[in-house]
């Protein structure tokens, strides 16, 4: 019995590694591009490695690095990172419901540490409760892919020809689009708020008097205003598990 349980948990970890490989590879490529942005913000390879290994967040890290580059205050950075990562509040809530009540606190904390869009999607796809061992398997590939990708981006980004760097620097935006655009097909409200986000962000960047405000604060205010209006005008459906 003891052996059987051990074998099962080894299998779960292995299958997590297997599912984590494509995610880790994708992370490496996108993190490389993020590393180039970090280098431009004056971040060292070791700092970049640590930021990525500890944050595991594309949008959050990008937001934070933008704030560092703009010499924002610590409070401004905290607010911006909070906004960029606010979706994890929702994911974390949904994820909590996919965990067995027996899941230990340290397991919850460790999984939460690497609750990314992609691993969340893979985890939530599991039938029944998510096995922490499976999730740890995915993390063991995803975190190194992300952290080393960032470090290599900072180190080698400078050695690449300008054209290649220019091309790679849009990879992260591609990743952002991959999170938001598919949902605009399913929800008219999301389509409208995404277009409003694009438009008002652009407008704020060109209007005299407003464009002088720091980029981070502009982004923060626009995000909160549009989301509050959308939530008031078009609240999400009541709990769908009524049936």
């Amino acid at each position: 019995m003891e052996n059987k349980t051990e074998m099962e948990s080894a299998n779960l970890f292995a299958s997590g590694i297997k599912d984590g490989i494509p995610v880790g590879l994708g992370y490496f490529a996108v993190a490389f591009a993020l590393g180039i942005t970090m280098k431009n913000a004056g971040i060292t390879p070791l700092q970049g490695f640590l930021i990525s290994a500890l944050n595991n967040a594309s949008a959050g890290e990008y937001a934070g690095v933008t704030m560092i580059a703009a010499h924002a205050t610590l409070l401004e950075t905290a607010m911006m990172v909070l906004t960029a990562n606010a979706r994890y509040l929702l994911m974390s809530t949904a994820f909590a419901l996919k965990l067995s009540p027996k899941t230990k606190l340290w397991e919850r904390v460790l999984m939460g540490f690497d609750l990314t869009d992609e691993l969340f999607a893979l985890g939530i796809r599991q039938k029944g409760y998510i096995a922490p061992k499976y999730y740890f398997g995915m993390m063991s590939v995803a975190i190194p892919g992300w952290a080393f990708g960032t470090m290599f981006g900072i180190i080698f980004g400078a050695l690449l020809p300008a054209r290649i760097v220019s091309a790679l620097s849009v990879a992260l935006f591609g990743m952002f689009l991959a999170v938001i655009i598919p949902e605009t097909r399913n929800s008219r409200v999301i389509a409208v708020i995404v277009v409003c986000g694009f438009f008002f962000s652009w407008l704020a960047s060109v209007l005299p008097g407003i464009r002088e405000i720091s980029e981070g604060v502009r982004m923060l205010v626009i995000t909160i205003v549009i989301s509050v209006i959308a939530a008031l005008v078009h609240p999400v459906e009541e709990e769908e598990n009524k049936a």
Partner: protein, 100 residues
């Protein structure tokens, strides 16, 4: 402590707390409809706001940035994977910058 290190700590702590607080404390879904709605919309708006117009100024020219934006939307609209989308955007920039 240097400025980037202070900022790194702030980023890490905020990110970590956002992810683990609901996971460790909340064992029931969020009830308040406004809060749930707000939390549903925030990710989409914040990513949209961070993408545009920043993508236009990320490359060597506004045109290649715009090309990447359009290609990215077309690809993701057709549900291309994360990796394919990122590659497509990069390729769009390479091609446009090679042409101009």
């Amino acid at each position: 402590m240097s400025y980037p290190v202070q900022q790194m700590i702030v980023m890490t702590v905020v990110t970590f707390l956002v992810r683990i607080i609901p996971l460790t404390i909340l064992r029931k879904p969020v009830k308040n409809r406004f809060v749930r709605s707000f939390l549903t919309y925030v990710p989409y708006v914040s990513l949209a706001v961070m993408t545009f117009p920043a993508i236009l100024h990320a490359t060597g020219s506004v045109y290649s940035g715009a090309a990447a934006f359009v290609v990215g939307i077309v690809l993701t609209w057709n549900r291309a994977s994360l990796l394919k989308t990122a590659a497509g955007c990069c390729l769009a920039v390479l091609i446009v910058e090679w042409l101009i």
